[in-house]
Symmetry: C2
Protein backbone atom coordinates (compact mmCIF):
# COMPACT_ATOMS: atom_id res chain seq x y z
CA UNK A 1 0.00 0.00 0.00
CA UNK A 2 1.10 3.55 -0.62
CA UNK A 3 1.01 4.47 3.04
CA UNK A 4 3.63 1.82 3.76
CA UNK A 5 5.76 3.18 0.97
CA UNK A 6 5.54 6.70 2.34
CA UNK A 7 6.59 5.60 5.79
CA UNK A 8 9.45 3.70 4.27
CA UNK A 9 10.85 6.89 2.76
CA UNK A 10 10.37 8.72 6.04
CA UNK A 11 7.14 10.60 5.40
CA UNK A 12 3.94 10.47 7.42
CA UNK A 13 1.15 8.76 5.50
CA UNK A 14 -1.25 11.66 5.10
CA UNK A 15 -4.24 11.74 2.78
CA UNK A 16 -2.82 14.41 0.49
CA UNK A 17 0.44 12.54 0.09
CA UNK A 18 -1.30 9.26 -0.66
CA UNK A 19 -3.59 10.87 -3.22
CA UNK A 20 -0.77 12.70 -4.94
CA UNK A 21 1.20 9.50 -5.11
CA UNK A 22 -1.78 7.76 -6.72
CA UNK A 23 -2.08 10.48 -9.33
CA UNK A 24 1.59 10.27 -10.19
CA UNK A 25 1.65 6.48 -10.31
CA UNK A 26 -1.44 6.04 -12.44
CA UNK A 27 0.08 6.75 -15.81
CA UNK A 28 -3.51 7.77 -16.46
CA UNK A 29 -2.47 11.32 -17.09
CA UNK A 30 0.84 12.14 -18.71
CA UNK A 31 3.99 10.88 -17.03
CA UNK A 32 5.28 14.43 -16.85
CA UNK A 33 3.06 16.71 -14.79
CA UNK A 34 3.30 20.23 -13.42
CA UNK A 35 2.12 21.06 -9.90
CA UNK A 36 -0.95 22.61 -11.46
CA UNK A 37 -1.60 19.43 -13.47
CA UNK A 38 -1.45 17.36 -10.29
CA UNK A 39 -3.70 19.83 -8.51
CA UNK A 40 -6.32 19.73 -11.28
CA UNK A 41 -6.20 15.94 -11.36
CA UNK A 42 -6.87 15.87 -7.64
CA UNK A 43 -9.88 18.14 -8.03
CA UNK A 44 -11.22 15.93 -10.81
CA UNK A 45 -10.97 12.96 -8.47
CA UNK A 46 -12.99 14.92 -5.94
CA UNK A 47 -10.07 15.31 -3.57
CA UNK A 48 -9.85 18.53 -1.61
CA UNK A 49 -6.15 19.35 -1.43
CA UNK A 50 -4.66 22.82 -1.44
CA UNK A 51 -2.28 23.88 -4.18
CA UNK A 52 0.30 24.89 -1.57
CA UNK A 53 0.24 21.36 -0.26
CA UNK A 54 0.75 19.97 -3.73
CA UNK A 55 3.87 22.10 -4.08
CA UNK A 56 5.09 21.10 -0.64
CA UNK A 57 4.51 17.41 -1.22
CA UNK A 58 6.13 17.39 -4.64
CA UNK A 59 9.20 19.05 -3.16
CA UNK A 60 9.28 16.48 -0.37
CA UNK A 61 8.96 13.63 -2.84
CA UNK A 62 11.81 15.09 -4.80
CA UNK A 63 13.97 15.32 -1.69
CA UNK A 64 13.00 11.78 -0.76
CA UNK A 65 14.31 10.75 -4.16
CA UNK A 66 11.08 9.26 -5.47
CA UNK A 67 10.52 11.78 -8.22
CA UNK A 68 12.49 14.09 -10.45
CA UNK A 69 11.83 17.73 -11.22
CA UNK A 70 12.44 18.99 -14.74
CA UNK A 71 12.64 22.50 -16.11
CA UNK A 72 11.11 22.24 -19.54
CA UNK A 73 10.84 25.51 -21.42
CA UNK A 74 7.81 27.56 -20.61
CA UNK A 75 7.87 28.51 -16.98
CA UNK A 76 6.62 25.84 -14.65
CA UNK A 77 8.44 22.86 -13.23
CA UNK A 78 7.43 19.39 -14.36
CA UNK A 79 7.62 16.28 -12.22
CA UNK A 80 7.83 12.58 -12.95
CA UNK A 81 8.03 9.46 -10.83
CA UNK A 82 11.44 7.87 -10.80
CA UNK A 83 11.82 4.28 -11.90
CA UNK A 84 15.47 3.97 -11.32
CA UNK A 85 16.86 4.60 -14.75
CA UNK A 86 17.99 8.08 -15.67
CA UNK A 87 16.93 9.45 -19.02
CA UNK A 88 16.78 12.68 -20.97
CA UNK A 89 13.95 14.20 -23.00
CA UNK A 90 13.05 15.23 -26.51
CA UNK A 91 9.93 17.31 -26.86
CA UNK A 92 7.68 18.75 -29.53
CA UNK A 93 7.27 22.50 -29.30
CA UNK A 94 3.99 22.32 -31.24
CA UNK A 95 1.96 19.73 -29.38
CA UNK A 96 3.92 19.20 -26.18
CA UNK A 97 4.64 15.55 -26.84
CA UNK A 98 7.53 14.20 -24.77
CA UNK A 99 9.77 11.24 -25.56
CA UNK A 100 12.49 9.80 -23.38
CA UNK A 101 15.90 8.52 -24.32
CA UNK A 102 19.17 7.41 -22.84
CA UNK A 103 22.38 7.71 -24.80
CA UNK A 104 25.48 6.17 -23.24
CA UNK A 105 27.77 8.09 -25.56
CA UNK A 106 26.36 11.43 -24.51
CA UNK A 107 26.48 10.47 -20.84
CA UNK A 108 30.09 9.50 -21.22
CA UNK A 109 31.08 12.65 -23.07
CA UNK A 110 29.46 14.78 -20.39
CA UNK A 111 31.55 13.21 -17.70
CA UNK A 112 34.67 13.67 -19.81
CA UNK A 113 33.86 17.37 -20.27
CA UNK A 114 33.28 17.87 -16.56
CA UNK A 115 36.64 16.24 -15.85
CA UNK A 116 38.39 18.33 -18.44
CA UNK A 117 37.09 21.54 -16.86
CA UNK A 118 37.87 20.36 -13.34
CA UNK A 119 34.27 19.98 -12.16
CA UNK A 120 32.92 17.11 -10.14
CA UNK A 121 29.64 16.60 -11.96
CA UNK A 122 26.55 16.44 -9.76
CA UNK A 123 23.84 16.62 -12.35
CA UNK A 124 23.02 17.50 -15.91
CA UNK A 125 19.99 18.34 -17.99
CA UNK A 126 19.57 17.82 -21.68
CA UNK A 127 16.49 18.75 -23.65
CA UNK A 128 16.12 18.37 -27.39
CA UNK A 129 13.38 20.50 -28.93
CA UNK A 130 11.78 19.93 -32.29
CA UNK A 131 8.64 19.23 -34.27
CA UNK A 132 7.30 15.72 -34.07
CA UNK A 133 6.28 13.65 -37.08
CA UNK A 134 2.54 14.16 -36.47
CA UNK A 135 2.88 17.91 -36.23
CA UNK A 136 4.91 18.07 -39.41
CA UNK A 137 2.23 16.08 -41.17
CA UNK A 138 -0.44 18.56 -40.04
CA UNK A 139 1.67 21.50 -41.14
CA UNK A 140 1.93 20.22 -44.69
CA UNK A 141 -1.85 19.95 -44.97
Amino acid sequence: MDSQFLKKVGLKATLPRIKILEILESGGTARHMSAEDVYKALLEHGEDVGLATVYRVLTQFEQAGILTRHHFEGGQSVFEMDEGRHHDHILCTKCGRVDEFFDPTIEERQKAIADKFGYSMTDHSLYIYGICKDCRKKEKA
Copy 2:
Protein backbone atom coordinates in the same frame (compact mmCIF):
# COMPACT_ATOMS: atom_id res chain seq x y z
CA MET B 1 28.91 52.60 -34.06
CA ASP B 2 26.22 50.72 -32.18
CA SER B 3 23.42 52.82 -33.57
CA GLN B 4 24.33 51.74 -37.09
CA PHE B 5 24.31 48.14 -35.95
CA LEU B 6 20.88 48.52 -34.40
CA LYS B 7 19.44 49.98 -37.57
CA LYS B 8 21.00 47.19 -39.54
CA VAL B 9 19.06 44.62 -37.55
CA GLY B 10 15.89 46.63 -37.94
CA LEU B 11 15.66 48.40 -34.60
CA LYS B 12 15.44 52.12 -33.92
CA ALA B 13 18.64 53.41 -32.36
CA THR B 14 17.30 54.54 -29.01
CA LEU B 15 19.39 55.47 -25.99
CA PRO B 16 18.27 52.48 -23.90
CA ARG B 17 19.07 50.04 -26.68
CA ILE B 18 22.48 51.54 -27.29
CA LYS B 19 23.36 51.48 -23.60
CA ILE B 20 22.19 47.91 -23.15
CA LEU B 21 24.21 46.87 -26.14
CA GLU B 22 27.29 48.50 -24.62
CA ILE B 23 26.79 46.67 -21.34
CA LEU B 24 26.45 43.35 -23.09
CA GLU B 25 29.42 43.92 -25.38
CA SER B 26 31.82 45.08 -22.71
CA GLY B 27 32.76 41.73 -21.26
CA GLY B 28 33.32 43.93 -18.24
CA THR B 29 30.69 42.10 -16.32
CA ALA B 30 30.13 38.42 -16.82
CA ARG B 31 29.30 37.21 -20.29
CA HIS B 32 26.08 35.67 -18.98
CA MET B 33 23.74 38.24 -17.46
CA SER B 34 20.18 38.23 -16.21
CA ALA B 35 17.83 41.13 -16.97
CA GLU B 36 18.35 42.28 -13.40
CA ASP B 37 22.15 42.16 -13.88
CA VAL B 38 21.87 44.34 -16.96
CA TYR B 39 19.55 46.71 -15.14
CA LYS B 40 21.94 47.08 -12.20
CA ALA B 41 24.88 47.63 -14.53
CA LEU B 42 22.95 50.42 -16.23
CA LEU B 43 22.24 52.09 -12.92
CA GLU B 44 25.91 51.87 -11.97
CA HIS B 45 26.76 53.62 -15.21
CA GLY B 46 24.35 56.36 -14.24
CA GLU B 47 21.90 55.47 -16.96
CA ASP B 48 18.22 55.86 -16.18
CA VAL B 49 16.51 52.97 -17.91
CA GLY B 50 13.44 51.16 -16.62
CA LEU B 51 13.54 47.46 -15.84
CA ALA B 52 10.57 46.88 -18.14
CA THR B 53 12.56 48.39 -20.98
CA VAL B 54 15.49 46.12 -20.21
CA TYR B 55 13.20 43.11 -20.53
CA ARG B 56 11.66 44.42 -23.71
CA VAL B 57 14.99 45.20 -25.32
CA LEU B 58 16.54 41.87 -24.37
CA THR B 59 13.60 40.08 -25.92
CA GLN B 60 13.93 42.17 -29.06
CA PHE B 61 17.64 41.45 -29.27
CA GLU B 62 16.88 37.79 -28.93
CA GLN B 63 14.35 37.94 -31.74
CA ALA B 64 16.79 39.89 -33.87
CA GLY B 65 19.20 37.01 -33.36
CA ILE B 66 21.95 39.01 -31.73
CA LEU B 67 21.77 37.32 -28.35
CA THR B 68 20.74 34.01 -26.85
CA ARG B 69 18.56 33.39 -23.81
CA HIS B 70 19.44 30.56 -21.46
CA HIS B 71 17.45 28.94 -18.70
CA PHE B 72 20.01 28.12 -16.06
CA GLU B 73 18.64 26.61 -12.88
CA GLY B 74 17.39 29.08 -10.35
CA GLY B 75 14.54 31.02 -11.85
CA GLN B 76 15.63 33.88 -14.03
CA SER B 77 16.66 33.88 -17.66
CA VAL B 78 20.25 34.61 -18.56
CA PHE B 79 21.37 36.32 -21.76
CA GLU B 80 24.59 36.39 -23.71
CA MET B 81 25.73 38.08 -26.89
CA ASP B 82 26.03 35.71 -29.82
CA GLU B 83 29.34 35.41 -31.59
CA GLY B 84 28.33 32.92 -34.17
CA ARG B 85 29.47 29.70 -32.65
CA HIS B 86 26.99 27.62 -30.67
CA HIS B 87 28.13 26.19 -27.37
CA ASP B 88 26.77 24.54 -24.25
CA HIS B 89 27.48 25.28 -20.58
CA ILE B 90 28.91 23.69 -17.48
CA LEU B 91 28.29 25.55 -14.25
CA CYS B 92 29.27 25.44 -10.61
CA THR B 93 26.33 25.22 -8.25
CA LYS B 94 28.42 26.67 -5.39
CA CYS B 95 29.92 29.85 -6.86
CA GLY B 96 27.99 30.32 -10.08
CA ARG B 97 31.04 29.99 -12.31
CA VAL B 98 30.16 29.23 -15.94
CA ASP B 99 32.33 27.53 -18.55
CA GLU B 100 31.50 26.97 -22.18
CA PHE B 101 32.16 23.97 -24.36
CA PHE B 102 31.31 22.51 -27.71
CA ASP B 103 31.35 18.78 -28.26
CA PRO B 104 30.86 17.56 -31.84
CA THR B 105 30.09 14.04 -30.67
CA ILE B 106 27.26 15.19 -28.46
CA GLU B 107 25.88 17.45 -31.16
CA GLU B 108 25.93 14.57 -33.59
CA ARG B 109 24.25 12.13 -31.20
CA GLN B 110 21.50 14.63 -30.53
CA LYS B 111 20.67 14.90 -34.19
CA ALA B 112 20.70 11.10 -34.48
CA ILE B 113 18.28 10.81 -31.55
CA ALA B 114 15.93 13.40 -33.01
CA ASP B 115 15.93 11.49 -36.29
CA LYS B 116 15.32 8.19 -34.58
CA PHE B 117 12.25 9.59 -32.81
CA GLY B 118 10.97 11.31 -35.94
CA TYR B 119 11.53 14.88 -34.78
CA SER B 120 12.97 17.66 -36.87
CA MET B 121 15.24 19.22 -34.28
CA THR B 122 14.93 22.97 -33.86
CA ASP B 123 16.97 23.51 -30.75
CA HIS B 124 18.51 21.86 -27.76
CA SER B 125 19.83 22.84 -24.36
CA LEU B 126 22.46 21.05 -22.35
CA TYR B 127 23.65 22.10 -18.93
CA ILE B 128 26.16 20.21 -16.84
CA TYR B 129 26.09 21.05 -13.13
CA GLY B 130 28.86 20.36 -10.66
CA ILE B 131 31.37 21.77 -8.20
CA CYS B 132 34.35 23.55 -9.65
CA LYS B 133 37.90 22.92 -8.59
CA ASP B 134 38.16 26.10 -6.52
CA CYS B 135 35.00 25.33 -4.58
CA ARG B 136 36.15 21.79 -3.86
CA LYS B 137 39.40 23.19 -2.53
CA LYS B 138 37.53 25.51 -0.18
CA GLU B 139 35.31 22.67 1.01
CA LYS B 140 38.27 20.59 2.12
CA ALA B 141 39.63 23.46 4.22
